[in-house]
Symmetry: C2
Amino acid sequence: MKTLPLPKGFSAAGIAAGIKQGGGKDMALIVSDVPAVSAAVFTTNQIKAAPVNWDIQVVEHLGARAIVMNSGNANACTGSQGKNDVETTAVLTAAKLDVEPNEIFVCSTGTIGKPLPMDQITGGIETLFDHLSPQHANNAAEAMMTTDLAPKSLTTEINIRGKPVRITGLAKGSGMIEPNMATMLAFVLTDAAVEKHALQCALRFATDSSFNRITVDGDQSTNDSVIALANGLAGNELLTQDSEEWNLFFQTLEKMLFKLAMMIVKDGEGATKVVTIRVIGAASNGEADEAARAVANSMLNKTAWAGERPNWGRIMDAIGYSHAQVQEDKVDITYEAAPAVRGGMAFLETPEEELVNVVSQEAFTIHINLNLGGGEAVVYTCNCTEEYVRINVE
Amino acid sequence: MKTLPLPKGFSAAGIAAGIKQGGGKDMALIVSDVPAVSAAVFTTNQIKAAPVNWDIQVVEHLGARAIVMNSGNANACTGSQGKNDVETTAVLTAAKLDVEPNEIFVCSTGTIGKPLPMDQITGGIETLFDHLSPQHANNAAEAMMTTDLAPKSLTTEINIRGKPVRITGLAKGSGMIEPNMATMLAFVLTDAAVEKHALQCALRFATDSSFNRITVDGDQSTNDSVIALANGLAGNELLTQDSEEWNLFFQTLEKMLFKLAMMIVKDGEGATKVVTIRVIGAASNGEADEAARAVANSMLNKTAWAGERPNWGRIMDAIGYSHAQVQEDKVDITYEAAPAVRGGMAFLETPEEELVNVVSQEAFTIHINLNLGGGEAVVYTCNCTEEYVRINVE
């Protein structure tokens, strides 16, 4: 695997600390040489894992120095013990860097309800620091994986008034992905100098148009977190929302999160297809979103796509029971460019094979026009195969 | 198979009319010798099949004489052609009985978006009348099946002031079952004399506590209908909600619909377990219902049960993202009598094996106490196996 370049002043490590059953890398560390401006977006699940509650405080702090994470155990529903364990993890990591614990983000992903194995975590932190290197971002991405088939990372460079700025993204997530980022973690690292409020806005917007638009099984997790660190070592003039280069920076960030989100959908447990559901003509954007998610989360649709059958009746059914207002005889459905439904009925001039050809592709878009108003939304999902069930039964 | 006894004055038929691919019985007819009082509950899907829209008018009529149904084709999303086809079906059936078309209920279940094959329907109606007999209720139940593994029917007798009264129920449904009766049909036939308004109330209440409490895959269909016919031939004094025997009649009806609903859950596509989710202590009954359905519809829970793993973390996760108010440290979860979670955390005194034993049973109840208020709800669901996906992919 090609080494994933990190932005200036960042180093990373990923090691096997013995938390995951069956071995494999399960702890990662990302360190910035200097205090970084941070931003974060967290799960909206009412039940938040201990590390999420910790990180909600860390992001309020002005400078952050590191992210330490483990896979194999979510440290969720673990009460005061879980809270103590996060704190211990932060304290130990902070001590190695000679900084305050509230400069350390802590993330966990894995099984809910079991206490963190603190012997492994403690030993793991030691080992992580031994392996810390600007060359080890790949290892960190690998340690983030749970049921993921492949690590997910990207890096890109932009030029801000002659200063090269690098942005690197690492993500994990495959099953249990729904609105608001279920069981997914993403870390965005940049050497850009960015004003804190601007970074927070950018991360929120970019998350809403990427991770919050994908859905694998409609479940949301207790641990979802997107964390960004910007350490300013690129030496650019501080970026704010008023900067001339703000759009370039924001769009680069947005594009990166979108690509990472697509990697997650593609890696949906047992998934073999990426399906884009685009709804227009809804009474409002919110209703378009409701309709798109009803279609995207319907097991009957996800299994039909797995069988490479268009089955637009299941789409009509799903929008009909969604919370979006729907008028049957106004609905148009189009598979890529092939009209399937016009005025709520089969468009017979399109031969069935043409629709079958669309859903046989590895990626396709279904356009749904409710013809009621100007509301629009798009949601990205995947098909559901027997493999999904096999993975989750086990 | 034992002959299913019908109430006085009812006869039935079930035949293969050539609508279903691969043959098999696909049309049923139920006739009352005299006009019957009718009641009905229909799908809340905004997209209703043509027969549902027809039946909404039939139930307003004072006397009904027959139900004619087909499986293999839903006659949904079929526009004015679909509307005409229902009317033709009713007209042909009515002509055989020398009654008005608006005395005929028409039901369909099967694929959405294809026009009814009217040659088969027309021929089928002829054949159905040739086979009509008080002994043929089993055939009718069989003709209602789509992906059902077994026909679902029950009959029971009660005594109302010395008059024996019989109630017979026939149902179909397996996948795509959610709140509000998705892709399920049920017919309740009785020779009791019942006042129309009372019968409608009884059917609505009994449906809410039975068919509307089961969920297989969270999808709702365009065709769900529960129809009751009461022809009065038992000769009892007219039952009203003020009758002394009203409770006996209502509870018998309710028990029957509940048993039929359980037969449907048990027959959930690829399902091998019936799981009861009972939520108490919610802020309101509505919120209890939201929490229970979030758990019951979560693929992560349904697959965990298939794997016979308690995995209460997935329950915590589901109630956390439900629309019910939840406070993590107040949540108690109990598997049958075994405490699994107390105060939002693992109850360690219960050995894991005890929880595994519960979820290894063919039927079990999970009790969730949110400890926030007096709201309660119960939902019945099933596990999800690879077989479910296989069935729906095909």
